[in-house]
Subunit: 574 residues, 2 copies
């Protein structure tokens, strides 16, 4: 019944090419001087082909068979290892990695598009290579020569996979509570420097049979390290040592039973005198890992969009098959695609995917600009955009990925609740994206309390000014900036105000940006399928953007309340 997801490469390319002019922007960066539309087209077509043919058909078996755990060993669902071997051998994991490491040295934007398609096709499978590029960048920039020699080449190509071992039972959002220990040891083989002891949970891909080795990046505390997040150091502990023997202290104790994502083993890892190599400076482990934060969060945002696109594809196809009841004015049972309630659901998701891609791809381009733009001002502007847009998109796109997939399920009626159509799997899989890589509530605090309030909204105002928005789009962006200023003024006297307003503020930013992004692609509609862009624009105006005023109203109501209280307190004190 259920058709696997097919990457809509034409629509994706349209956003990159016509809306964002990615080829000219990227070719202005020295390493991408040869980048053009033809190359972009070639890579995206080939990626879409690979994803549609090799990865998407494994989504169902991944959910139904799932991962099996026995005596410390994880067996992946049927077909997964072969698909992964084909993936790395074709060079896909190395798309953005440096040529000197065997990579293809292409822009991050193409990697982002690849991972959007992969997540849409098979979220569970995609978790396995999900942190690979982050681990590669981290070792490349922070690893010493011997660590790079031992691990970098095979991580660069994806022949080996990696994990990020951060979370512990009592340290989730709050990594300051990490208690895993790293003890310096001498005379270890292969130049290993430390022994690691501790338990980590929620480690995606902590153990599997996709690759011949797994490289764990582990946050741990050195003897005498300060308490809190600034006492954490970073280590590499491989499953197999350079001589091919097992690193005897690395154990997988169990995998979690989860709501979804059954094809991704979520491992409880135990390190017992596990041999490890230090990466970067002592106590600077979190900083070394945070280098990959923006890219990782952008990828999660794109998972939200990808899953939403996959759900929309299924629901739109079903709505063109199923007849139930007469739509207004019809004399016979209509296709459910004719019913206004179904249209609203489908058009709304279309709007989020189309406008969302404009924002996400713009950010992916900015990731490269932040490193490679020829002038400092350009690098700074790109960095500013990434810092602010990333938490907004991570929270807003994953929230919509889940809620929108659930609305698409609704299009199927009772059939949506049974497994056959694959839509309920998307809802279950998507739910985790609101949680990992920093919960959406953490994203909101990161945005308002860490990035906006401290400078009174100055960087936000600069980032929004770069958009050159007009009309209603400019009005919404201006109102957010004005609110940022007022909240910043009030914050010193009301320490909890940013925390109370963070979710609404992030949401208002997301909607203001979405409105702008919608105008951008409306201004450059694709030659084909013009109707579908009109429908998305309609949904944006009528159903999506009205939430903006509601969010602003919620913030104004509370800000006014505390302002009044503050004045009353001052008056009473005077």
């Amino acid at each position: 019944m259920s058709q696997p997801y097919r990457p809509d490469t034409a629509r994706i390319e349209h956003v990159l090419d016509a809306v964002l002019q990615a080829p000219s922007t990227l070719s202005a960066l020295a390493p991408f001087a040869d980048y053009d539309s033809a190359l972009q087209h070639q890579v995206i077509e080939a990626a879409g082909e690979f994803v549609g043919r090799t990865i998407a058909p494994l989504s169902r078996v991944g959910d139904e068979v799932g991962c099996r755990f026995e005596a410390g060993v994880v067996t992946m669902p049927p077909g997964f290892r072969q698909a992964y071997q084909a993936f790395w051998q074709a060079g896909w994991p190395a798309l953005s990695h440096a040529a000197e490491d065997g990579g293809q040295a292409l822009p991050m934007a193409l990697e982002a598009v690849l991972y959007e398609m992969l997540s849409a096709a098979n979220h569970g499978w995609t978790m396995a290579p999900g942190v690979l590029s982050g681990a590669y960048e981290c070792l490349r920039h922070h690893g010493g020569q011997s660590v790079r020699d031992l691990f970098l080449p095979k991580l660069a190509t994806g022949q080996w996979l990696a994990t990020m071992c951060l979370t512990e039972p009592h340290a989730g959002s709050d990594l300051g509570q990490v208690s895993t220990r790293a003890t310096p040891a001498e005379d270890l083989p292969h130049g290993a420097s430390h022994l690691i002891d501790g338990s980590k949970i929620f480690i995606s891909g902590g153990e599997h049979d996709l690759t011949d080795n797994i490289i764990h990046l582990v946050l741990a505390r050195l003897p005498g390290a300060p308490a809190g997040p600034k006492g954490l150091s970073l280590f590499v502990a491989p499953k197999f040592l350079p001589d091919g023997r097992r690193n005897a202290g690395v154990h997988c104790d169990r995998i979690e039973e989860k709501m979804g994502l059954h094809a991704s083993p979520t491992c409880a890892m135990r390190f017992e005198a596990a041999m490890a190599w230090q990466v970067g400076q002592p106590h600077r482990g979190l900083a070394a890992m945070f280098i990959m934060m923006n890219a990782a969060r952008l990828h999660v945002a794109l998972q939200g969009l990808g899953l939403l696109d996959a759900a929309h594809q299924k629901a739109a196809a079903y709505a063109q098959e199923r007849r139930q009841m007469r739509a207004p004015g019809a004399s016979q049972p209509s296709l459910i695609a004719e019913h206004p309630a179904v249209r609203r659901i489908l058009w709304t998701q279309r709007a989020w995917v189309d406008a969302g891609r404009v924002l996400a791809y713009r950010t992916a381009i900015a990731l490269d600009q932040a490193r490679l733009h020829p002038d400092a001002q350009g690098r700074e502007a790109a960095q500013r955009w990434c810092a602010l847009a990333t938490p907004i998109m991570k929270a807003a796109f994953t929230a919509q990925g889940f809620a929108g997939a659930s609305e698409c399920l609704q299009v199927f009626g009772g059939h949506g609740y049974v497994r056959d159509w694959g839509i309920e799997q998307i809802v279950r899989d998507a739910r985790v994206t609101l949680i990992y890589e920093g919960t959406n509530e953490i994203q909101a605090l990161d945005l308002l309390a860490r990035k906006v309030v401290p400078d009174g909204g100055t960087q936000l105002a600069l980032a929004f000014a770069d958009l050159k928005a007009k009309g209603d789009d400019a009005r919404r962006l201006d109102r957010v900036v004005e609110l940022a200023r007022r909240i910043s003024w009030a914050a010193p006297d009301h320490a909890d105000l940013p925390a109370w307003l963070a979710d609404d503020f992030l949401r208002a930013c997301a909607l203001a940006l979405l409105g702008w992004a919608g105008s951008c692609f409306r201004a450059r509609p694709p030659a084909i399928d013009a109707d579908r862009w009109e429908e998305a624009a309609h949904a944006l105006q009528y159903w999506v953007l009205p939430e903006f005023e509601m969010r602003v109203g919620i913030m104004e109501q509370r800000r006014a309340t505390v302002a009044t209280k503050g004045q009353a307190q001052k008056a009473a004190a005077a």
Copy 2:
């Protein structure tokens, strides 16, 4: 880790007793002359005790083991049959049934409370007796003497269970497309009158081992019946015939694999010359079944509230255990219950449950008043309230049940996504309530297109006037009535307008009523736990009710657009 749900009987009784004065209202109805607070307390306490002790602990095993299907036979999860036997032997299914049939002749309101607690405790188990009272009422009012003699006594006590066989593969929301046939036959044993042929899907409890017999109520078409919904007749086809032999033409072909509700077998039923008895008039089958519609939809609304209450219980308990990060002003990691984002989630669900109960229990009381009120005006007012409030609550409370349970999952962070805490089960189970008993989109059409527009909103205005709302509550209700009038005026020229606005209209009604209900309990707070009512009231004002203006704005924007278009067209035609 996970604690089973415990019915919060004090809070439930407070709404019935102090907020709604149920004892005095109900004792004004002749059959309940003896009903008082003490009796109400006794029944609710005993129900809470039974639900908490016997039903709630089976929720997890119901999800994990689920129902097993083999060769036409369904085996329920361990403990389910014993729990059901205890349930009916204690008299719980017969709570509202007539004394002459062996029932306890208590008000529907108590039955509603019982089913809210049961659903919260174990949604899957509760599906089994879910349609029992409806089937009982249907046979009692529409069955002939022989049908009543054969089936009513054991349905009245719940010794046997029942199903409603409506949906077919191509007839879901649209029952007019039902194609199951009923052929009159003579000389059948036990006075059976027809043979049924056809396939039904999504039949909850179509086959199980909870009871010794299952009575199927089947919608089918007599020879020469008119097409559409007015050609459907109702039949009874039991699993076992009165002589104890199997009704050879009744088959269960499979059970569905579903997103949740694993403890409820969703059966594909095949009737092949199945022996059946006609119930009620030919071609009036839908009308006979619709007698139970309001009660059934109210029960689904209460499932939404019950599941939300259960999710809130889990999240609130977890938030009092887990420490992560410092809340504003704290110097050490705080309980997550101290973080504003978590407070917002918890308080908001509290608001929906508390205010939602006021509306739901008011409706449950009105179900009895509609039948039993001493004067015609009282019966009419109660009937009006039920007709209008039921679709509103069904859609709004189930939507919040799912979305709110998902927010409660978020409180657990990554732990919410794994099975151990039971919160993800609630999210999966709750999802179906937005679909069954008429999808939420069907509820919205029922409200606006069937019940409001045809009389220009007159009945809605009368129902809202009965609430004697004041201040902001009155303002919101008045605005909905005004909108109903304007939409009704525009509808003749814009046939699709009600369908486009239905979801927003229902939502605006729900919020207006929720605001009123919130004021009602705020005006009569319970002696204990006063803080928690303040928190709910806060959430209602700051975070829930602002959506009202947004919904009104969405409707006004579209209504204005079509009005302008209409004038332009008229001007052009003139």
